[in-house]
């Protein structure tokens, strides 16, 4: 219920509907008829969180259980946060307006390193102690999932439990076991012991770390028979895993406001910088009839005019064209646009353009990632110059005049030649446009967006030390210099300080928890938003806590060093990562998984080979 006090506050902040719930598709249950009340917390704004497919999937999955009521909660924007503090309003769930402290389980999804302070802000706003050790049985169980849990050591002290890997099945099991423990009246410690037996459940407090005088980990010791390594949870039969058919439709819109169906999981490409490409292995595709019928049902149930076929690399679905043919009749009839967000340059075809631009035409984005062939080989982005040119031609012929290109700088083995290569690639695309007699009308524009490379755990580049700020600055300046003469090239790049902080947390360990808590107490929140990111505050917080950022971000990690994530098993072995890193140093590419197996280890999660290599 919204009382007069809350109403007055809501009407004094921006976009109050972020905090009210009640959207079409929002699920209301009777609290007396459920065993587990679960608050799914997304540590960012409503509009960001409501764009996230994973949250939508888990919301529907958990709520499909009659005994579980999953509600939603997002980080209140700065204005609302301030008002809630002023008026002592505890953070509440959108569905029932229940304070988070009254939930059984509070689950956060850790999607991004710079949302960590938002997690603390949400716990704090709910009146819940930040540190797991300070919370007894009277508090909800605080858990985390999402890609960052593959090395969530920097956040380990704040959580009771972390779910590793795929949560669709694991989360439901966790809730049921938790309900069982609760009904038996087990203590928090006993409950955690029970939970730690589950596949994909990591209890951070059950692992003790020892450090050497150089600050490097010397030993990780499991307690209470906690598994070592701790395996990620995995869906073995992804092909037939039911896809979303219903979802909450935000009234005020979302960043990505459309129907989404995940067409495949994992990626065959093995781009060496890409964490998602390794932690979601092995590659599994969904059945196309299932995708087609779910997509149709989802559009019917939500009224969305666009359906996105999402994945890490949608054009790698072996039956994509067949799927698009199946979807064509109803999408045409019901005026639904099909979006293919992750196409690869090397298999982007004319018929794909045609099939996806029938209803409406949008911009086109490609990610060559590096400016020269040599560097693309190093990072294993197996895209050739010719393919980029061919794609640009196809895109222009297909009616696009704006092309956006994603690049990275600070990659292993990068030289200034490679930076110049970024500008050259953009220039070449503009030249292609003018060389075409049948080019679309209007102005050609090539936007290049350049991110600073952040080395991530479970990638072959996990060993690599990030370029320091000075070098990144030099490279950025040089790129601008190279593009200065051409007004048709628009350059934007990510903030290097932000990338440094991401790198610190990505490969950080438990000793960072105190820095995060300290920074939060000094005002750090919404660090992923440029309006509130305060670099100096972070620099000061690291200094105050006596923690060196460069130890985490810029140092090369020796192969035999114990990393904070080495006791976690995401399938891909460290031996494979070392071998693949060595291949990269010689600019030797790896073939896609479906062409050749490099024994990364992920197939052991399935208990079978990922592909039938001898077939045809």
């Amino acid at each position: 219920m919204i009382d007069n006090k809350l109403k007055s506050i809501l009407l004094s902040v921006q976009k109050p509907a972020r905090y009210t719930g009640g959207e079409p598709g929002c699920i209301i249950k009777n609290p007396d008829e459920v065993k587990v009340r679960f608050a799914f917390c997304f540590p960012d704004t409503y509009e960001v969180g409501m764009s996230h497919l994973g949250m939508k999937v888990l919301y529907e999955t958990l709520n499909s259980q009659p005994d579980i009521w999953c509600e939603r909660c997002f980080t209140p924007w700065l204005d609302m946060m301030q008002k809630m503090r002023e008026h002592n309003i505890p953070l509440y769930t959108l569905e029932s307006k229940t304070p988070l402290g009254e939930m059984d389980i509070i689950g956060f999804t850790l999607q991004y390193e710079l949302s960590y302070t938002n997690v603390l802000a949400m716990l704090d706003l709910a009146g819940i102690p930040l540190m797991a050790k300070d919370r007894d049985e009277s508090y909800p169980l605080i858990i985390a999932g999402g890609p960052c849990t593959c090395n969530a050591e920097p956040m380990a002290d704040f959580f009771d439990v972390m779910v590793l890997g795929e949560g669709e099945v694991a989360d439901t099991i966790l809730c049921n076991v938790y309900a069982d423990c609760k009904s038996k009246g087990l203590s928090k410690l006993e409950t955690l012991k029970e939970l730690s037996k589950l596949e994909g459940v990591y209890v951070p407090s059950f692992y003790e770390f020892e450090y050497g005088s150089d600050g490097i980990i010397t030993e990780v010791r499991p307690l209470y028979n906690a598994p070592i390594p701790c395996n990620k949870a995995i869906i073995k039969d992804f092909a037939h895993l039911p896809a979303l058919e219903n979802t909450v439709v935000p009234v005020i819109g979302a960043v990505h406001d459309r129907a989404m169906v995940e067409v495949l999981r994992g990626c065959i490409r093995g781009c060496r910088f890409c964490q998602a490409g390794f932690i979601y292995r092995p590659f599994r595709e969904r059945d196309i009839d299932l995708i087609n019928s779910s997509a149709r049902q989802l559009c019917k149930n939500t009224g969305y005019e666009e359906v996105s076929l999402t994945s890490l690399s949608t054009s790698d679905h072996p039956q994509l064209e067949e799927l698009l043919d199946k979807m064509e009749p109803w999408t045409q009839r019901e005026k639904v646009n099909i979006a293919l967000p992750s196409l690869r340059i090397d298999n982007f075809s004319e018929s794909l353009i045609e099939k996806t631009t029938k209803v409406r035409k949008s911009g086109l984005t490609f990610a060559p990632e590096a400016g020269t062939q040599r560097l693309r080989d190093i990072i294993n982005k197996n895209v050739t110059e010719e393919e980029i040119e061919k794609t640009a031609k196809l895109a222009f012929a297909g009616g696009y005049s704006h092309v956006k290109l994603y690049f990275m700088m600070g990659l292993p083995g990068e030289t200034m030649e490679d930076i110049k290569g970024i500008a050259d690639t953009a220039q070449k695309i503009i030249d292609i446009y003018y060389s075409m007699p049948n080019r679309p009308k209007g102005k050609v524009e090539v936007s290049i967006s350049v991110a600073s490379f952040v080395p991530k755990p479970f990638t072959p580049f996990q060993f690599f030390g990030q370029n320091d700020l000075e070098l990144i600055k030099k490279k950025q300046d040089y790129l601008l210099e190279c593009c200065k003469s051409n007004k048709k090239i628009k350059v934007s790049y990510s903030d290097a300080n932000t990338s440094l902080l991401e790198a610190v947390f990505a490969r950080g360990d438990r000793r960072l928890a105190k820095v995060i808590a300290h920074a939060y107490k000094n005002g750090a929140v919404f660090d992923g938003w440029y309006e509130s990111f305060d670099w100096q505050l972070w620099v000061q917080s690291f200094a105050d806590c006596g923690v060196d950022m460069h130890f985490y971000a810029n140092r090369f990690r020796e192969y035999d060093e114990i990393n904070p994530w080495d006791h976690i098993n995401y399938g891909v072995t460290k031996q494979f990562l070392i071998e693949d890193y060595k291949r990269s140093q010689q600019a030797i590419t790896s073939k896609p998984c479906n062409k050749q197996c490099y024994n990364c280890g992920a197939n052991k999660l399935l208990g079978r080979a990922c592909f039938e290599y001898n077939k045809g």
Binding site: A17, G22, V249
Partner: protein, 217 residues
């Protein structure tokens, strides 16, 4: 092709989203409904839809409506059933049928307003309105900013006695395509002059009227 007018209330949780959001909500509801809705024929086909009198965020209404077109005949019951469970909480459909007036016919809207605060201060607000010859406020629109006397645009002011920190009154405000007066201007005037909390006020649109305060059905 038939133009259909659906009437609805916007209350409770639905007061927290804007007119623009409401348009999108209705668009999706029509799409989900499976009704034979008419689409514009342009390059980007879209559902043709009009709303006569936008309602400000934070205000309730018991007399909202929007128009769209159907390519086939459908009964009121069929239309309402098709839309019923596709809407956010607080959007309550009340009727559907052929429009009987145009948006430009709207001249007035009746509101009920509740103010909260100290009884004595609330009585002061009411007395001020009744006794003052002019209630001057600044009205800003996309086009211009102007000083207006609210008393020129408000009739049938009818207030009760403040009780337990609340006073309730009704009034008819000039509304429609010319001289549209947002009742929040009056609440804002009281808030500024007497220090009451404008955001806690309840503003409810009860009814709309045509020329000479004639009933628009």
């Amino acid at each position: 092709m038939n133009t259909i007018r659906v009437k609805f209330n916007k209350v409770g949780l639905a007061i927290y989203f804007s007119h623009l959001d409401l348009q999108r909500v209705m668009m999706r509801a029509l799409k989900m409904s499976g009704l034979p809705v008419w689409y514009s024929m342009g390059y980007n086909p879209h559902i043709y839809m009009t709303f006569p009198l936008p309602l400000s965020l934070g205000q309730e209404s018991f007399c909202e409506s929007f128009d769209f077109r159907l390519t086939e005949e459908k009964s009121e019951e069929e239309i309402l059933n098709a839309l019923a469970d596709k809407l956010p909480r607080g959007i309550e459909l009340t009727a559907a049928g052929r429009p009987t007036y145009e948006a430009k016919d709207i001249r007035y809207a009746k509101y009920e307003i509740n103010l909260y605060g100290d009884d004595e201060i609330l009585q002061g607000c009411i007395n001020d309105f009744i006794r003052s010859a002019s209630i001057n406020v600044t009205k800003t629109s996309k086009k211009r900013t102007e000083e207006i006397n609210l008393k020129d645009f408000i009739t049938d002011f009818c207030a009760g006695k403040p009780v337990d920190g609340k006073v309730s009154f009704t009034a008819i405000f000039s509304a429609g395509q010319t001289n549209n007066i947002n009742p929040a201007l009056l609440v804002g005037y009281f808030a500024e002059k007497y220090g009451i909390d404008a955001n806690s006020a309840d503003i409810k649109r009860l009814n709309i009227f045509g020329e000479n305060i004639s009933v628009l059905q």
